[in-house]
């Protein structure tokens, strides 16, 4: 069965084979880099056990108000709301694949966007396609609102890696360029990230890295002047 290739993504390995992980372990019987040589979830490192994370477990989001002085979640009486700020994968790209060519922008909204729920939009007086800003202690992001009932209240989505040189105006909060999705995030290191040299907890490029907890962030959203400057 031939692999369908495209100029952007071949997915094709030697001999027309599909790219697939762990083939060397399965086909050449190379042991996995774990203590047992098998695939497993259980991590019996002392620190992981101390943290109660020897097996996959639920951890609630951090209390950003108590830890870092961010505003508490919800409306504060002014025309702004503090929400959870999530940066999910965009619909149209994986990894560093370039999504912001003119065709794809014509098939979306042509610039940086922030998805939010009708309830949050109403609370800050934002209508669909209005310019708005997400602000917190880390930075600021300017984008246009996409108001959709697909979004639950209290959460905004800013899709990963929207092009920062396309239609990004200056922000009201800083007067500087209105940032990118990562302008309002920051890396928080968990103690368990510091484990190294222990079976599968040994760093290798593209194999072991920090978890996505730098996305565990809150941000205050508000409407801004609709006359933007570039």
């Amino acid at each position: 069965m031939p692999v369908i290739t495209s100029p952007e993504w071949s997915g094709s390995e030697t001999g027309g084979r599909r790219y697939a992980p762990f083939t060397v372990n399965v086909e050449r019987l190379k042991p996995w880099h774990t203590l047992t040589g098998r695939m497993h979830f259980f991590l019996d490192h002392d620190w992981m056990r101390d943290l109660g994370e020897a097996l996959p477990t639920y951890r609630p989001p951090l209390d950003m108000h108590r830890l870092f002085g961010e505003p508490t979640l919800g409306a504060d009486g002014a025309k702004q709301v503090t929400v959870r700020y999530l940066t999910p994968h965009s619909k149209w790209s994986i990894h560093s694949e370039y999504q912001d060519n003119l065709f794809m922008l014509s098939l979306s909204r042509g610039g940086p966007t922030i998805w939010l729920s009708p309830a949050d939009a109403a609370a800050i007086g934002v209508a669909d396609n209005d310019w708005m800003e997400c602000v917190n202690a880390n930075g600021v992001l300017v984008g246009r609102a996409i108001v959709s009932h697909r979004m639950p209240e209290g959460v905004v989505y800013v899709h990963h890696a929207q092009e920062r040189i396309i239609d990004v105006p200056k922000s009201e909060a800083t007067g500087r360029r209105g940032g990118i999705h990562n302008s309002v995030t920051r890396l928080l290191v968990k103690p368990s990230h510091l484990i190294g040299g222990y079976a599968q907890l040994s760093y290798t490029f593209n194999y072991l890295g920090p978890t996505g907890n730098q996305r565990d962030i809150v941000s205050t959203i508000r409407r801004r002047s609709q006359e933007v400057e570039y």
């Binding site: 922008l105 959709s148 009932h149």
Partner: protein, 550 residues
């Protein structure tokens, strides 16, 4: 009985992920030039949503398609000859650019020319129509993934129709969210209202495969076809002043290749193949009094390619044997007529559209699973089809002129297939009662499953090449000297009278279509390629190079 062949398409909406690869590759191939910036022969809409152009399904406004007059005869919804003549210069009823969208580009030059500053430079949007700074307020796919639908979803004509019956049916509420993607191309209708609308007779339906095309030489830019097409799949090129439309990639189809949108479809949801139909009965079928009977009437036009009478009549009409063979292997015939799981888009427009859709079942399965049910067990799934929040009424307004029973039937067949195949996969006892409950057998369900789930390229696209048998015959008509492989009409191969397909042109065409390098300037000698011409100056090869005086 007058048997004719029609190249048709089926799209399985369960598989569409809304990636727009079809739209982009189509645009790159066909409408990547001045005058067609806003044109997408293929587009993918999120439903519920307004679609492209906005609210194109509102025929009270746009007056596309056919209706019945007081004597029960077909007439164009846009009006008869007198009315059309009175409005011929204004052509008043058609979408404006704002209803499509104002195409834009970006000030990319700033990125390299901007002076040194405190902030990095950005490219701001510029209108492709005026060249001025612009604010983007609408696009070819504005309501993608329900963006803005909580505010503007009530403008979706289908939402309006469903809510007329019950306000409760569709709520734009987080807990009741549903959506699916609807990819659209020209329907290549059996009874095209665009063709009937054209005052110049420039639109024609090809006799051999039913592809509907605009003759660019005869089009006078009256734009009546834009009004006439209820799917708004004819576009006005504001640079050439002529109408353009999806060609079903006929240069590819002629050499046995699928359309660009099908070839590049990531989800492999498109099927291409032949229908045989009875051309004598099309008008009568399109004039079926009750709109809800139109789907059945359309299905009834499709002839059985295994029927000896049909085969004999088809041979008499000159349909070559390899085409009849392709018709017997046709995946679109199987899905539309044999299994009856593919439905036409808006049969109530009475155009007899030839792009069919398998309605989406996945949202139902996903929801059941999320609610903690065993989503593929037949008892749960069958009962859920009608009860669930994805409104069957919405699908019915799209595909069966509002007949909810037909939608339920199709979804039940698809659900039965899942349940039956799950039993087999899990090595449980084969339960023939599931198949029997939808009037099928184990064998038939397995065949349908194969076609829907694992059909390979040459099973999904069964496309007989053009006229291999007729090529030699046509050559003998005295055209062979006029149309060699290198001789072309003055404005390129798409201009002038249609060239009969000869062995030479056939191979030249195939070579060009399958080659992955573009024709160089030197090879262009005597042939003009207008595809990438932007309308400025004279294209290469149009006139002989000026010789410098000695």
């Amino acid at each position: 009985m007058r048997v004719m062949a029609q190249m048709g398409m089926v799209m399985n909406l369960d598989k569409c992920i809304g990636c727009h690869t079809c739209s982009v590759t189509c645009k790159q191939a066909w409408t990547n030039r001045a005058g067609t910036e806003y044109v997408w022969f293929n587009n993918v809409e999120t439903r519920p949503g307004q679609g492209y152009p906005r609210r194109y399904e509102d025929q009270e406004t746009w007056r596309g398609g056919w209706t019945l007059n007081s004597r029960g005869r077909l007439k164009l919804k846009a009006g008869g000859r007198v009315r059309k003549l009175l409005g011929i210069f204004a052509s008043p009823v058609q979408p404006k650019l704002a209803d499509y969208y104002e195409p834009w580009t970006y000030d990319y030059r700033t990125l390299i020319d901007a002076p040194l500053g405190d902030d990095f430079p950005v490219a701001r949007p510029k209108s492709l129509i005026t060249g001025e700074d612009t604010k983007i307020t609408w696009s070819a796919n504005w309501d993608d993934n329900l963006g803005g639908v909580s505010e503007q979803g009530h403008l979706d004509p289908i939402v309006q129709r469903v809510r007329q019956e019950s306000e409760e049916k569709i709520k734009f509420d987080f807990q009741q969210t549903f959506m699916f993607y609807l990819p659209r191309i020209c329907e290549h209708c059996l009874n095209p209202s665009c063709m009937a609308s054209c005052p110049s007779g420039a639109i024609y339906k090809r006799a051999e495969d039913g592809i509907v095309l605009v003759d660019q030489d005869r089009c006078r830019g009256w734009r009546q076809c834009v009004t006439g097409c209820p799917y708004k799949k004819i576009y006005f090129n504001h640079k050439t002043g002529k109408a353009e439309k999806c060609t079903l990639c006929y240069p590819r189809i002629e050499v046995g290749l699928p359309t660009v949108c099908s070839e590049t479809c990531v989800g492999r949801l498109r099927y291409l193949g032949l229908f045989l139909y009875d051309a004598d009965r099309v008008t009568a079928a399109a004039a079926t009094p009750n709109e809800k009977d139109l789907y059945a009437a359309q299905l009834d036009l499709i002839l059985d390619p295994n029927d000896q009478q049909v085969i004999a009549a088809a041979r008499q009409q000159g349909i070559p044997p390899d085409w009849l063979d392709a018709a017997r292997r046709s995946p679109v015939y199987a899905l539309a007529k044999t299994y009856k799981v593919a439905l036409p888009l808006h049969p109530e427009y009475r155009t007899m559209p030839m792009v069919w859709y398998i309605p989406p079942l996945s949202p139902i399965v996903d929801l059941l699973r999320d609610q903690g049910h065993d989503a593929e067990s037949p008892g749960v799934l069958f009962g859920a089809i009608r009860a669930l929040r994805i409104p069957l009424e919405y699908l019915a307004e799209l595909f069966t002129a509002g007949d909810v029973g037909e939608i339920e039937r199709v979804l039940t067949v698809l659900a039965a297939m899942r349940a039956h195949m799950r039993n087999i996969t899990l090595e449980q006892l084969q339960d023939d009662s599931i198949a029997a409950s939808v009037g099928m057998t184990d064998q038939r369900i397995r065949e349908m499953y194969r076609l829907l789930a694992i059909a390979k390229y040459n099973e999904r696209y069964v496309i007989p090449t053009a006229h291999v048998e007729q090529a030699h015959e046509l050559e003998e008509l005295g055209c062979s000297l006029e149309y060699g492989p290198y001789e072309q009409p003055p404005l390129g191969e798409a201009s002038g009278r249609p060239a009969p397909v000869a062995v030479e042109t056939f191979h030249a065409l195939r070579q060009r279509q399958t080659s992955d390098v573009s024709v160089s300037g030197e090879e262009l000698r005597g042939r003009v390629n207008l595809l990438n011409w932007d309308g400025k100056g004279a294209p290469d090869g149009m006139f002989p190079k000026r010789r410098e005086p000695a």
